[in-house]
Amino acid sequence: MKKYSKFLRISKCFATLMVFVFGFFLTVFSTQAETEHPPRVVDDAGLLSQEEDSSLTEKLNEISETYGIDVCVVTVDSFEEASVQAAADDYYDYNGYGMDEEYSGVMLYISMEYRDWYITTTGKGIEIFSDSDIADIGGSMRPHLSTGNYCDAFMEYAHQCEVQIKEATTYHWGRYLGVSVFLGVVVAFVYILILKSKLKSVAPVDTAAGYVVPGSMAVTGSQDMFLYKKLDVTKRESSSSQSGRSTHRSSSGRRHGGGGGKF
């Protein structure tokens, strides 16, 4: 009986231990599964060879991990959403892209059905890529896309993204110092002008307005005659400025920037 109860106790301990061990591994694996990043190249349209896919993936992983901003490429045959913008945003939002609490990243979305390209940006990506930057990237990719050199187009996209992100995330101490000194000189100059103006209290008074007899003014005649008119015509600036960042909400409620076109 004693032996049996001892065996039972050991078994219980073992079972408890196993539960803990199993629980631990389950937690670790499930956490790993949660934190595992989705692939940065998803070529559902089959535009890349195996080697091209892996070299592009390597390049995008390197950029993304260096700067902490997701840079990815997704190709599809077609999409079901109302627009390529909604399709790109949804793909980004619902497949776990984004590298920080702001889900920062930039994704190139290619749909072959109507030959659409769209770049969607989120978090820091919105601050880094202005509308004109996105248009420029599109402009440099389009010749490659149109001729079917998809790998070159995506490599060009990766290169342009890296340049933009590097520029935006580098600590330009020299530039900051220059701006600071310029600002300092302007502020000091204005401050000195204010201080100097306090020392001046003498100025001629060119009018006798202070000596008008109250109520003495009477207007006895007035005439307003139209003479001529001049028309100035100037060309309108584009509604979105060069540095503008137009944003919208995706179906998930996140804020996205972006732009796209056909190829």
């Binding site: 001629p204 008074v205 005649g221 005659m225 139209f226 003479l227 001529y228 100037t234």
Partner: protein, 361 residues
């Protein structure tokens, strides 16, 4: 062939030839188009300007009486030549304008007797207090300047003024503009319509003062204004007791120019204020006729302090009636450089820190 008449373009002033055969005329220089009637009406308006008539009468001035002459003394400054008047019991030792010694010259002779005087209403201690306040809060003021002043030397001076009263009949022309803006898909449009605006009417001025002493800078004296002439009383030499007075050395005829200038500017501004509904209004021409223009001679009370700093003379003045204190102060250049550099350094450091903080956060 039609009759040819020449007009001046209201836009650029160029000559326009008007051909009666066509309905509109176009300036060959600025391409502006005009209606025929408009040009003729505008020409009439401009030709109606006429010349200013700004005459002043001065028939009520008096000479000094014998008794007054005996009771007053004239001192002459050996440095600037200024003549100051005191009563026989007040001794003057220094010129109020340049702080140089003065010597007694003679009894008052010649010149006009003031018609009015505004007696001093603020005493020397008030003037000293105002001067101290005047120096407060001025960071660029040389520290040594404050200590080198001889506050006791502040002097009460009756300054001669010519006082002008008049009713002005004015006809003033302005150029008014109205602006309309609109846009289409590719262009922005700005249409500016120009109008000839004329206003006629009258306005009265009372007691416009003009400084009658060359020793007192005109801008300093005008900065002291206003004086309330209602407090003026008929002149009596007893008011000079304890103070010095300046004799006018700018006569009425010379002062009239400044009075005319100020009355004209005030009239143009007053009528411009009645021109409403325009985006901009600018004076173009017109004329002013003065009626009942009258000038009189008066003495106004001013506390004066002169001081030299680095070889330059600084004059401060306080309105002896209202307490308004004026006078330009010198700048300490080394202090200014220090403040400039330190402000630049502090602002630049803050700006650099903020930029770095924004980057790293």
């Amino acid at each position: 062939m039609g009759n040819v008449q020449e007009y001046k373009c209201p836009c650029c002033g160029g000559a326009i030839e008007f051909d009666s055969k066509i309905q509109k005329v176009k300036c060959p220089y600025c391409d502006t188009e005009f209606e025929m009637e408009t040009l003729a009406d505008y020409e009439n308006e401009v030709s109606g300007d006429g010349a200013d008539q700004m005459n002043w009468e001065m028939d009520n001035t008096q000479e000094w009486t014998l008794a007054e002459q005996e009771g007053l003394r004239i001192y002459v400054c050996q440095s600037c030549g200024g003549e100051i008047v005191t009563d026989e019991n007040t001794a003057a030792s220094a010129c109020p304008y340049c702080d140089s010694p003065v010597v007694i010259h003679n009894l008052v002779a010649g010149g006009l007797r003031p018609e009015y005087i505004i007696p001093f209403q603020l005493d020397k201690s008030a003037a000293k207090q105002k001067f101290k306040e005047h120096l407060k809060g001025k960071r660029l003021l040389p520290k040594v300047f404050k200590t080198q002043n001889h506050l006791e030397e502040i002097k009460g001076v009756y300054v001669p003024y010519w006082i002008f009263d008049s009713k002005a009949n004015a006809r003033v022309r302005y150029r008014g503009t109205k602006v309309r803006r609109w846009s289409d898909a590719s262009h922005n449009y700005k249409e500016t319509s120009y109008y000839a605006v004329t206003r006629q009417g009258n306005i009265s001025f009372a007691n416009v003062p003009v400084d009658g002493s060359t020793k007192m800078p005109d801008d300093l004296m005008e900065s002291l204004e206003p004086f309330d002439h209602k407090a003026a009383v008929p002149f009596q030499k007893a008011y000079f007791a304890g103070y010095v007075a300046d004799k006018y050395d700018v006569d009425k005829e010379k002062s009239v120019h400044r009075a005319n200038e100020r009355v004209k500017n005030a009239t143009q501004d007053a009528f411009a204020a009645t021109v409403k509904g325009y985006a901009s209004v600018s004076y173009e021409g017109g004329s002013i006729h003065l009626e009942q223009g009258k000038a009189s001679y008066a003495m106004y009370p001013v506390w004066i302090l002169t001081t030299r700093w680095k070889g330059e003379l600084y004059t401060f003045a306080m309105n002896g009636q209202t307490g308004k204190f004026v006078g330009n102060l010198p700048v300490d250049k080394s202090l200014m450089t220090k403040i400039f550099l330190s402000t630049t350094a502090v602002t630049a450091a803050i700006a650099f820190a903020v930029q770095s903080l924004v980057y790293f956060l």
